[in-house]
Amino acid sequence: MRVLIIEDEARLARNVAEVLRGRCSYAVDTSHDGEDGLHLALTNPYDLVILDLMLPKVDGMTILKELRGKGLRTPVLVLTARDATQDVIQALDLGCDDYITKPFEMAELVARCRALIRRSYDRPSPVLRAGELEINTATRVVGYRGRTMLLPAMEYRLLEYLALRADEVVSKADILEHLYDFDCERFSNVVEVYISSLRRRLDPGPQHVLLHTVRGQGYTLRSGKP
């Protein structure tokens, strides 16, 4: 999953990004002013935007209005020092999905991020199930056909994304967009590499049950439901 943090306090953004990458295997982009942040949010497909309200150039409330005005459906978590009920109500009414005040518990922030992303993919349960595949998004433990394992970061990231969009055809472009932040080099065949790595671990057999290639379109994770 790919997350955008718009926060002008650089070190705070860095801290949150580190934790999201480390704990959740998210790809994270950070922006330190409102103008840049708004532009990023509108031009890239993020799964979550973490938004500070007091930003230079364009403030958080305006960004919220713009995002929702342009029809962006990405969940937005507002992270701010302003805790007055008026501010909370205003932000929620302008379209944010959750609100957390500084200072905050890092673990709580992370849990809320996960919850918002789950909900945006219409997967309310933290345990993703697709056929015999079971992914506990909180612990990142993957279970398949009775075996449990921990996957390396990028593979987990890919598997989780495909599982969230189970039974959909996911294009390579989508995968690249959602798995990498700006700073990463992207090689277009890296997806194949990770897919085959996943297959090796989970779905080795001659017939691929779980991960399927859809020629010319992308990949899909089949849950086995008719």
């Binding site: 480390g22 200072p103 905050f104």
Partner: protein
């Protein structure tokens, strides 16, 4: 002695004045009446004297004169109503005597004191008590006739008049007293009734709390026009107080808010490190960052305390001479490293020796804050210039940086607490937004002020004006 209540004072004064006025009028009436009664008596005596004289002129026999006068003058209870004696000068025997020869009246009539003797053809009036305790009004009339100089002394008792005057006085006292008392009561009632609005206002005021200070509108209280300016002034004061309260509240909220950011930084840094490195090991970079956050909080707290001390004016200002040029030189040297670290420098223009009167640590802080602001606000790698001059009896210190234009509408707000013209830059460099506010407070306390000019050509200049002590 006067009661403290205004209403009672007014009531007493009005009652007192009423009493005095009534007393004066009564006195005038009384004496007038007395005068009038006396004139009546005197007129009666003149008539008596006149009738006696006309009888005396007639050549009556003495006995006949006696009878005649007796019938003219009248008798009451065996006594003549008018006491009189008529005699001729030089002749001890009298022509007429109203009373028994051995009575005290007769004795007195025969020895009327000479002081009352009038001139010829003249008369005197006088009061006397001819024995017996009763007061009489006498007339002594001397008339030159063909028989000689006739003396007529006639007297009427005053007891009737006195009795009547006594009645009159009683009536006046009773009437006056009642009038005074009733009027006083009415006046008191009216005054107490008229002062009801004050009570109403007092009642309304007692319901005012810091919460409804601005909301409480006293304009609906029904007060007489004289009290309206008072109410208006009261309302103004309440609004001013409310504004001050709001400023305090906002300041406290802002301060708490400002502290949250460094707190969030420190906390998130430690928590991220713990998640990444495990609880056992926190690397030194993390420690440095957190210590920096704590420093930032400490700076903010100190500045807040400074501001609150300046607000409360608890600290007595040290009233000592301060050499401004030396102060600026010291500060320039102190901040040189910081300037060098961002590839800039601090330049001191040549300065005259100028002194102001004030508190050296505070002035040092004032200029420190300006210098820090200039170094942070100005672009990297440029210079900050400090100048000093004496102008029109004021010591003017200028801190100049080449940082670009602050918008004209932002200029007056620069000195507001927590205000930052360019949010991101000052945040990054750890500014609290209080430095300029504190600088202004200090300048105010020293009887001076700070002005700022800024444009993209010349950069930004802060000019501090302080009253000059003397140039040494």
């Amino acid at each position: 002695m006067m009661p403290e209540s205004l209403r009672w004072r007014i009531s007493l004064l009005v009652a007192g004045m009423l009493a005095i006025v009534i007393a004066v009028i009564s006195a005038v009436a009384y004496f007038d009446q007395e005068e009038s009664m006396r004139r009546d008596t005197d007129r009666s005596l003149r008539v008596v004297a006149g009738s006696i004289l006309s009888e005396v002129d007639e050549p009556w026999h003495t006995g006949r004169l006696h009878e005649q006068m007796r019938s003219i003058l009248g008798v009451r209870r065996g006594q003549w109503r008018v006491a009189c004696r008529v005699w001729l000068d030089g002749n001890a025997a009298e022509l007429l005597l109203s009373h028994e020869a051995d009575s005290s009246m007769a004795r007195w009539l025969r020895q009327v004191p000479d002081q009352y003797r009038p001139a010829n053809d003249a008369s005197t009036y006088f009061y006397a008590d001819p024995g017996g305790g009763e007061r009489y009004r006498f007339l002594w009339f001397r008339n030159v006739t063909k028989r000689g100089v006739v003396n007529v002394v006639a007297g009427l008792t005053c007891s009737q008049a006195q009795h009547e005057m006594g009645e009159f006085l009683r009536m006046l006292v009773v009437l006056g007293g009642c009038t005074t008392v009733i009027s006083a009561v009415f006046v008191t009632l009216i005054i107490f009734w008229a002062s009801r609005p004050l009570k109403l206002v007092a009642l309304r005021l007692s319901g005012i709390t810091p919460a409804n200070l601005a909301a409480e509108d006293l304009s609906d209280v029904d007060v007489p026009t004289e009290l309206r300016p008072f109410l208006a002034a009261l309302r103004d004061m309440m609004l001013r107080l409310d504004k001050v309260f709001q400023q305090q509240r906002r300041f406290t909220a802002d301060a708490a808010h400002e502290l949250r950011t460094p707190l969030a930084l420190a906390k998130s840094t430690l928590q991220a490190a713990r998640l990444k490195q495990g609880a056992g090991r926190i690397d030194s970079q993390t420690m440095e960052e957190v210590v920096g956050d704590i420093d930032r909080m400490e700076r903010l707290v100190n500045q807040l305390l400074d501001l609150s001390r300046l607000d409360e004016k608890h600290e007595p200002p040290l009233d000592e001479p301060v050499a401004v040029n030396e102060l600026l030189e010291r500060l320039a040297a102190q901040y040189e490293p910081m300037a060098v670290a961002s590839h800039g420098r601090v330049t001191l223009e040549p300065m005259p020796r100028l002194q102001v009167r004030g508190n050296e640590p505070q002035l040092s802080q004032l200029f420190s804050n300006l210098l820090e602001n200039a170094l942070k606000h100005g672009p990297q790698g440029r210079e900050v210039t400090i100048g000093l001059a004496g102008e029109d009896g004021m010591c003017v210190a200028r801190v100049h940086d080449e940082g670009g234009a602050i918008a004209p509408e932002d200029l007056p707000r620069l000195f507001d607490r927590f205000y930052r013209a360019d949010r991101s830059r000052t945040r990054a460099t750890g500014g609290t937004g209080l430095g300029l506010a504190i600088a202004r407070e200090i300048a105010d306390r020293h009887g001076g002020r700070i002005d700022v000019t800024s444009n993209s050509r010349e950069g930004t200049t802060f000019a501090v004006r302080l009253p000059l002590l003397r140039s040494a």
